[in-house]
Amino acid sequence: MARPALKERARARLGFGPLGPAAGASRPTLAREEAWLGWWLVIPAAALILALVIYPMVVGFNTSLHAEAPTLGAPSKFVGFRNYSDVIKDPATHSAVVHTVFYVAIALALEIIAGLGAAVALHRPFRGRGLVLAVLILPWALPSVVSGVLWRRILASDNGLLNSVLLQLHLIHTPQVWLASGWAIPLITLVHVWGVLPLIVLILIAGLQGIPDEVYSASAVDGANQARQFWHITLPLLRPALAVAITIGLVDAITIFDEIYVLNGTGLNTASVVVQIYNTVFVDADFAHGIAFAFLVAAATALCAVVATLASRRATV
């Protein structure tokens, strides 16, 4: 192979320009190319967020500091945080908050217990595991209103399946109107958990699979039985995944809406904070108070999420 001649021809064919110091001057460096491309690729997302999140939030916050205009187009009066304090003092808000606390508590309890149980049962390989997991995510994949519609038959007052089962088991004597009773909130939470559990279980399975087998072997050699292994090894090592699962479950439960709406409408006996916001904005047509309420709940949610994350990180066994 006559190297120099081949090289010249190849170079020409490969599209290189004339050799010499000048050739390199006008071409962009790799770093500049990277920066250029980087900006162009993120600009769509950035513009979107700026226009449809940042701007409306700022405008919305401003609106929340003004009284609701009496007629459309009339200037609204600046009232500072009065809308916020109105919302805080409203008894409907109080009951909504109380309901929400119940929703959250029941949801988290169910999610952790059922989630851990399911994750423990499912994280090791077994025949048909793929199929089981595929079925498992179905409740999460369905729209929550559709889930609500499906569960209606079960929870219905006169001829619902729940009533039928309980009647036949002689646990009750007449069909109960569950959704108007004290059982409404736990039952609605159950429907909500039905939809969120798959996500929780997936997160916990991932956490369990992150624990190496050798740790269990070592502890077995050290004398631990299965129960102790679970308490002293599995749970502590699962803490990061649990933290994520709890935070997600928490935020999801605070913002519960769809299931309540489809199962019991905007009724005050089951209203969560979001339902109440909906009521304020659309039923009472009070936009200013509604948006103040929405900001309050957003702040509270963020606070809870931060506290939950820090608490689960900090706690030591």
Partner: protein
């Protein structure tokens, strides 16, 4: 004496869990399957029952005579024992179409925008990238309803209330940060050397992305697309708040209207529910491995 698990491991025996554990696990699995499929099964069974079947107390588990009346009423508007539903059935068909349309548009837009942003944040260095990234992620803490309520006025000003475009834009805004996060994590786990090899082989950054990184990302793209599809299809609060014209109402909103209208017509409602759940169910089953991988991988 039964040998310990470790002893069996050491001697190369198979280490299957003791029978008690395996039985427990089997019970748990059966319970989980029943729990997951139960309500769906109930819905299906109810949808093929007649009104009389449904109204018996205590309810019959299986209908005496299975019938497709509910579906006929819903799809074809036929006048059946369930009452006349002509206008509602066309509305139902229309809303299914509408849901699918909006879902597809929102999904394509969300995935496109988030894919390039997620890649850029994870692989490219440019000034302000870190700050912008965290700013976008920070919007995840804003609950959707707060955002939508805040957006309401802006959307009204832009005449986007009750429009399909308005819906797609808002879906896009609420779903992009999550999708960007998913793509970002996904790209970080991909080997970077093939991209470098492409740069050396003569590609510009953009060409290397198109010809090497994008093909690398195939399974991630499928997963995020599926997840975004499910999220878009299932949106309820946003279309409820932002309103929709009769021609653009998604099926999630319409079905709650039906619930209000046909309160005790369970077969009809169940039929609606079953039809409505078919698209997401199909997506979830076909792409379940990708979805699972992406969800558990990004938060672990």
């Amino acid at each position: 004496m039964r040998r310990s698990r470790d002893a069996r491991l050491a001697q190369g025996d198979s280490v299957r869990a003791p029978p008690a554990t395996r039985a427990l696990r089997a019970i748990a699995i059966v319970a989980l399957l029943a729990w997951s499929l139960g309500p769906v099964a109930v819905g299906v069974v109810t949808s093929i029952s007649s009104q009389t079947d449904v109204q018996t107390v205590p309810a019959r588990w299986l209908p005496d005579h299975a019938t497709l009346d509910a579906y006929r009423a819903l799809i074809a508007g036929a006048s059946t024992s369930l009452g006349s539903t002509a206008s509602d059935s066309s509305a139902f068909g229309q809303s299914m179409l509408s849901s699918v349309e909006v879902t597809l548009e929102a999904t394509v837009a969300s995935v496109a925008v988030s894919l390039i942003a997620g890649y850029a944040f994870s692989r490219l260095r440019f000034r302000g990238s870190k700050a912008l990234f965290w700013a976008i992620l920070a919007t995840l803490v804003i609950p959707v309803f707060t955002l939508v309520v805040a957006l309401f006025r802006t959307m009204a000003q832009l005449h986007l209330i009750n429009t399909q475009l308005g819906l797609v834009l808002v879906y896009l805004t609420t779903q992009a940060p999550l999708a960007i996060w998913l793509f970002y994590n996904y790209c970080r786990d991909l080997p970077v050397e093939p991209e470098e090899a492409a740069l050396i082989d003569g590609c510009t950054r953009w060409r290397a992305f198109r010809k090497v990184v994008l093909p690398q990302m195939r399974s991630g793209i499928a997963a995020v697309t599926a997840i975004v599809m499910l999220l878009s299809y299932g949106q309820f609060l946003i279309p409820l708040l932002l309103g929709s014209s009769p021609s653009t109402t998604p099926v999630t909103v319409l079905i709650t209207d039906f619930v209000g209208k046909y309160t005790t017509n369970y077969p009809l409602l169940a039929a609606g529910g079953v039809i409505a759940l078919l698209p997401p169910a199909i997506v979830a089953i076909l792409l379940n491995r990708h979805i699972r991988g992406m969800l558990s991988g990004s938060v672990g």
